[in-house]
Amino acid sequence: MSTILFAAFVVMLVLGVPVAVVMGGASLLAILYEGRYPGLIIAQRLFAGIDSFPLMAIPFFVLAAELMTGGKITDGLLSLASQIIGRLRGGLGHANVLMSIFFSGISGSALADAAGPGAVTIQMMRKAGYSVEYAAAVTASSALISSIIPPSIIMVIYALSDNAVSVSALFVAGIVPGVLMGLSLMITNGYLAWKRDFKAGEPRKPWGQFIRESGTILAALPLPIIIVGGIHSGVFTPTEASAVAAAYALIVTKFVLRSLTWSQLPRMFVRAGLMTSGVLMIVSTASAFAWLLTVLQVPQAITTTITSLGLPPVALLLAIAVFLLVAGLFIDTLPGVLLFVPIVAPVADAMGIHPIQTALVVILSLTIGMITPPVGGVLFVVSVVARIPLTRVVSAILPFLAAELLVLLLLILVPAASLWLPSLFGYVR
């Protein structure tokens, strides 16, 4: 049964079948082949996989980001980033990263960053004389920050897969590593700009003029505070916070800034609904796949093997990260979390590693997989929006990839990088 499950998985993946169908189809085939279970169990697993209130944060966060982008607020964030840092050498590269840090506070997904504001920044950098590969590489690597700084869809799903951590604790824990990622990318960009002698960016406008021209962005700034503050103070659950964020985005763009017309609105809701479907179909089919793995006792076997190795905690985390980075070459973040967290989280917990640190290491390892070929969601999106082949983005992205791997190493070696902020908020006992 496990042979047919894995064979079907690989064959369909290679043929270019959509990932959701790959996992659902492989599971269905294995169930029918085995004959022990009725076929309708596949429908039950798909349904049960998304029958969850916490998952509802996903459509709402997607919608909030969609409304913010449609309502021109993300354009404003980009001008703010350029205004702050754009005048340096390689300034637009810095602004691109800073913009991603800002955007990550309203968006829960790296894909949304790459496809939305990412497309705009690539255009801007190109016009300013950067090579399109370089622009695409900065955009792709900085887009990952959206999955680490709250809100984060992947963290919502992680918390569902590991009962030892809550969404709110992960949200708080993501802030420091996310900012570190941004800094590491800026340092890399600064170094490359100096080495390759990029020109300096536009001089800074007077702040008064800037605020008159692009004051709209101020409306976006309360959003991250609503999300993190609202959840932490107990005003809302994470799911409710996501709904409030979407409602806030709607009210601000529609009624305060009036940057959205009535005719644009239906399209935004439809797009958010479809993106939700794309994400949750994967969650749904991955849960069927994961169920089969559980029934085949695969996680149990792996857990026993790893535990028997008797690795010290740091070596274990390192091993987990390497394993997930390799897995991330072929598998996306979402199915990665759903398939591997039930396996690695209990092992790490048993070794005395704090569940929040494990979570951040796992999430960052798998998120980095989004910019590693052959299967990297962010890489695909960026190569489509930049209109260049994947391979050209890959070679340009290597230095930025290295920078992010260093941040990952830091998270592994220094527990405080992921635990310090949550402990201030009382999430670490």
Partner: protein
């Protein structure tokens, strides 16, 4: 060799009644059949949520499971009858009812309707109110409190009849909701309060024991029919052993509820029978009328008669 996938919803630790009971079941069954029947334990909901597990039992994809009454209700609504508040005077009576003719008749009807074989009931423990605002001595103290309930109409009615505002929150979200003050309080048995460390954010507990909630040991009938009579007997005996352990551990916690929770730093409020009566007068009629609508007056009467018989 036949494998029994045995699912339950508590953490896979030996201090958890369900897990300890399941491990004993495994040891007994594998030993008594010399390995002919193999038992795989899936703790902590690894096989899916309650409704998935109930469906698994119906389909025969899961051979055996222990599920609490609330998790059974979607598949077999009559189980809600056990949630009639303040119905059982004490544990002895409850056990007599759970093991007596009322249980047998209930199990038979459930088998006919769902193809799930109920082997026996263990305890999920007496349910109590906890909150972080004030001691609850009378229903009036619940007024204006935001209380979490499991997503179930019975518990919504119970809470609202006592004047609290009921918020349905899933078990997984409960610790966070309490830590952050999304709700002021909740109601659960000692086992659950300990399992999820709910005492960390709840200062007050009132040992009112409003509901005597049950855990049902169930076997898929499709699977049951494949077993030889000897194997069926082994599974039955193994379940009885498991239920003994499960009840023993839960009862120990229930009887020492006051000292266990006080040790965790909670202010414990106990009620006199007269004070409990004040709660019963408000809650029981409200829930009873709902239950009569949902599961029929006959079943509710049967239960009350069984309780009366058992109390003699």
């Amino acid at each position: 060799e036949t494998t029994i996938k045995f699912g339950h919803f508590q953490p896979g630790r030996m201090d958890q009644p369900k897990h300890a009971a399941a491990m004993a079941f495994k040891a007994y069954v594998e030993g008594a059949t010399a390995g002919e029947l193999k038992v795989e334990i899936y703790p902590a909901g690894q096989l899916g949520n309650e409704s998935t597990v109930m469906e698994g039992l119906q389909l025969g994809t899961i051979e055996m499971a222990v599920v609490h009454d609330g998790g059974i209700a979607g598949t077999y609504a009559p189980v809600e009858v056990f949630s009639l508040p303040y119905a059982f005077p004490n544990q002895q009576v409850a056990w007599k009812v759970f093991d007596g003719p009322f249980r047998d008749k209930f199990a038979e009807q459930m088998l006919n309707e769902t193809q799930i074989r109920l082997i026996g009931f263990a305890d999920n423990g007496l349910r109590h109110f906890t909150n972080n605002k004030r001691p609850i001595k009378a229903p009036a103290d619940l007024q204006g409190l935001r209380m979490r309930v499991q997503p179930s109409q019975v518990y919504v009615r119970l809470m609202e009849s006592l004047g609290a505002s009921a918020t349905a929150i899933s078990w997984g979200e409960l610790p966070t909701a309490l830590a952050q003050g999304t709700v002021d309080g909740q109601e659960n048995g000692v086992t659950n309060i300990l399992a999820a460390s709910l005492y960390e954010n709840q200062n007050h507990v009132t040992l009112d024991g409003h509901v005597y909630s049950v855990h049902a040991y169930m076997v898929s009938d499709a699977f049951w029919q494949q077993l030889t009579p000897e194997q069926q007997q082994v599974v039955k005996t193994g379940t009885e052993i498991a239920i003994g352990i499960h009840r023993g551990m839960t009862a120990a916690q229930d009887m020492n509820a006051g000292s266990i929770l006080a040790e965790k730093g909670m202010t414990v409020t106990t009620l006199t029978p007269a004070e409990v009566a004040a709660f019963r007068e408000l809650a029981q009629p409200a829930v009873r009328s709902y239950l009569e609508e949902q599961v029929g007056a006959e079943l509710v009467n049967d239960l009350l008669t069984a309780i009366e018989e058992a109390g003699k």
